[in-house]
């Protein structure tokens, strides 16, 4: 039995990647996910730029996780320069971050993943066959985008976040209206859980090392220690002990591994490591979806995103209520305490652990930069998953086998534009 799958530029993912699988005489011969995105070189370009520009430059790494990159970038500069955020700034940072989690997860589960289960090539035919599903997805996505826009001006690329705080503040009337819209969206969120609970997720188990941030008192999205399901815990500054990057010729993205042959970041890793800190309603949703940690079916990464849609909706409502209770005051950004400095900023962006590491010189210009991107950390695990997955599907005709492989790739929600610019700090 010989099979060859060669998918040039996988569709419905962010960026350019190819699947290459060859089966010869019933044996898996080649199995690769080639990242063919053009190299981006952001770390090299950051050198010489003022730290105040860095979050606006690095948000341009990715249109989907622009807020996540800006957040990690700001945290790196803030740690480097000893900046302490006000309580109000923390609430606003967390709120707009939830907006991005919602926006990205809704886009992924509805527009990129769902068409595979409904037997169509994109969301467009669903407008006629499943109008209620498409309209719900559009409503939810618009709400998420409006939430980000209320805080930072727009989702792609956020304007009002700056080192030490914000340059614009939402009005109480806007917060009140947003709170009501989020409450009204609960029925859409519930319908989302019901829809995805019914999908026939492929059966596939492969345990791996799940890596995420962790905080003692909240489901971590910004800051925290780096932890793994194999018992590792390190502060962000020691990230290299976990990420261990290496390069391969078929990919412009760097690969990572830690204790095992590969590791995985993203919603499933967060779910597995931080389940106890999910909002109670998110735990209920997980039960409806049949999920309890540790979940080792990679395809359920999309289901973990649905659980996080519930969590982020509920936590956004909580944060807005807190802001409404305490009031929002325009305030100057918190001052920097020292220069030069070096800092590591970490955030759990929609696709997983993101690390920005900067050194800032005496003149306020960046002298060295390193960004570690979730998709980079996942591609090695994806290839190991493909090796385990192909033997289960290679009896099928090639078009079906191809779809099975594409679905596995899409489960990771890869963000390939992001993934191609990584390096060690050199000094």
């Amino acid at each position: 039995m010989n099979k060859r799958i060669d998918v040039h530029h996988v569709t419905r993912v962010e960026g350019h990647g190819n699947i290459v699988v060859e089966v010869e005489n019933g044996k898996l011969k080649t199995c690769r996910f080639d990242v063919v995105e053009t190299p981006r070189f952001f770390e090299a370009m950051l050198r010489g730029r003022p730290y105040s520009e860095a979050s606006h430059i690095t948000s341009r790494i990715c249109g989907i996780c622009a807020t996540g990159h800006a957040t990690a970038s700001l945290r790196a500069s803030e740690k480097a320069l000893g900046v302490e955020l006000s309580e109000q700034s923390w609430l606003l940072r967390k709120l707009t971050f939830h907006g991005e989690i919602l926006d990205s997860h809704v886009l992924h589960v509805y527009m990129l993943v769902a068409p595979d289960f409904l037997g169509v090539g994109s969301v467009i035919p669903l407008v006629n066959s499943h109008p209620e599903v498409v309209l719900r997805a559009l409503r939810m996505k618009k709400l998420a985008g409006d939430l980000c826009a209320m805080v930072t001006g727009r989702h792609t690329h956020p304007i009002a976040m700056t080192v030490g705080g914000f340059t614009h503040f939402p009005k109480m009337s806007e917060l009140e209206a947003m709170r009501q819209r989020l409450i009204d969206s609960r029925k859409d969120v519930e319908a989302t859980v019901e829809l995805f609970a019914k999908l026939p997720w492929p059966e596939f188990e492969r345990d791996t090392e799940y890596v995420s941030l962790s905080k003692p008192d909240e489901y971590a999205f910004i800051d925290g220690d780096i932890v793994t399901s194999d018992g590792v815990r390190v502060p962000p500054e020691r990230y290299k002990e976990v990420t261990n990057e290496f390069m391969v010729p078929h990919s412009t993205a760097k690969f990572t591994r830690n204790k095992r042959e590969s590791l995985m970041v993203g919603a499933l890793a967060r779910f597995n490591n931080n389940y106890n800190l999910l909002h109670p309603k998110a735990k209920e949703a997980a039960a409806v979806l049949g999920m309890k940690p540790k979940v080792t079916n990679t395809f359920l990464n999309s289901a973990a995103q649905v659980v996080e849609i519930v969590h982020s909706t509920e936590d956004s409502i909580r944060i807005i209520e807190e802001l409404l209770n305490r009031g929002v005051q325009p305030e100057e950004p918190a001052p920097i305490k020292h220069m030069p400095g070096e800092g590591v900023g970490v955030a759990e962006v929609p696709r997983g652990l993101l690390i920005h590491h900067y050194a800032i010189g005496e003149d306020g210009r960046i002298t060295a930069a390193n960004c570690i991107i979730p998709t980079n950390q996942n591609i090695n695990n994806l290839e190991h998953d493909m090796r385990a997955w192909v033997p289960k599907v290679m009896h099928k005709p090639e078009p079906e086998m191809q779809l099975d492989l594409e679905m596995l790739v899409r489960a990771y929600d890869p963000c390939i534009s992001c993934s191609v610019h990584v390096l060690k700090i050199q000094r």
């Binding site: 569709t11 090299a44 606006h56 430059i57 792609t156 009002a160 534009s417």
Partner: protein, 254 residues
């Protein structure tokens, strides 16, 4: 045209964050009627189908390697109208920051001793490789402007892109001038059309939409003069999106 008389549209991406295509998806949330007026035959980020028969091509991203030029030329050959979508395609945008360092240094900084594995050259706008009919400026594009451009194209009109500075829109918004706050802002020399969104949210204009045609004649020079700055001063220093244009100008001057 397709059999139903709708123009066929395709989206392509080169070196970029794909945020402009996402903005297109977001624009369609508020204008689903556009999906009835056109037929999208290729949009890799959103759909699996790939049609090669199209009249209008939207291109996002800069050209950053020689091997991408052939793909651009093939798009130009097929499409009757080619539109640069967003700052990377229009200006080379942030990708051009790479040119501020020697190319070999940039490649070694990111890929170390494997630097030769990955092809790259200085980032350039699409029109440096193929003729472009229109550009929709911005990083990202403005969703209302995108809709306005598509509607104009469908009516056979020239897309309505302003050629006056951002200050005009900023004053209409009654924002406090960034120079009054003691900050440098590129609004006086930058093409309007964004509704002055950055100053409105408390951040200086970074010129993501490129310069107006004659900044020395048409800019808000009074604003600059009060701050003791010239057009040359601010455009030479603040190059987040316009490195390619500033360097081209320097090369012309010799």
């Amino acid at each position: 045209m397709s059999a139903n008389g709708k123009p066929k549209i395709a989206f392509f991406d080169f070196t970029s964050c794909e945020g402009c295509q996402l903005t297109v998806v977001d624009s369609l949330q508020d204008h689903p009627e556009l999906l009835n007026a056109v037929e999208i035959v290729q949009f890799r980020e959103a759909m699996s189908e790939k049609g090669e028969d199209y009249q209008i091509a939207f291109i996002e991203g800069s050209c950053t390697r020689q091997s991408d030029e052939a793909r651009l030329k093939a798009i130009r050959e097929q499409a009757s109208i080619v539109i640069a979508l967003g700052a990377c395609a229009h200006l080379a945008g942030v990708n051009a920051l790479k040119a501020l360092h020697p190319l070999e240094d940039v490649r070694k900084y990111v890929y170390g001793d494997k630097w030769e594995w990955y092809e790259t050259y200085d980032a350039r706008p699409i029109e440096a490789v193929i003729p472009v009919d229109f550009a929709i400026p911005g990083c990202p594009i403005d969703r209302n402007e995108f809709i306005a451009v598509v509607k104009a194209l469908l009516l056979g009109k020239k897309p309505p892109i302003p050629d006056y500075p951002v200050c005009v829109e900023c004053r209409l918004k009654e924002n406090i001038c960034m120079y009054t706050k003691g900050k440098v802002c590129l609004g006086p020399v930058t093409r309007a059309g964004c509704g002055a969104i950055c100053p409105t949210y408390g951040s200086s204009c970074e010129a993501c939409r490129g310069f107006i045609t004659n900044p020395n004649q048409d800019s808000m020079k009074d604003v600059l003069e009060e701050a003791g700055l010239s057009v040359e001063d601010i455009t030479a220093i603040y190059t987040m999106f316009t490195t390619y244009q500033v360097r081209e100008k320097l090369l012309q001057k010799g």
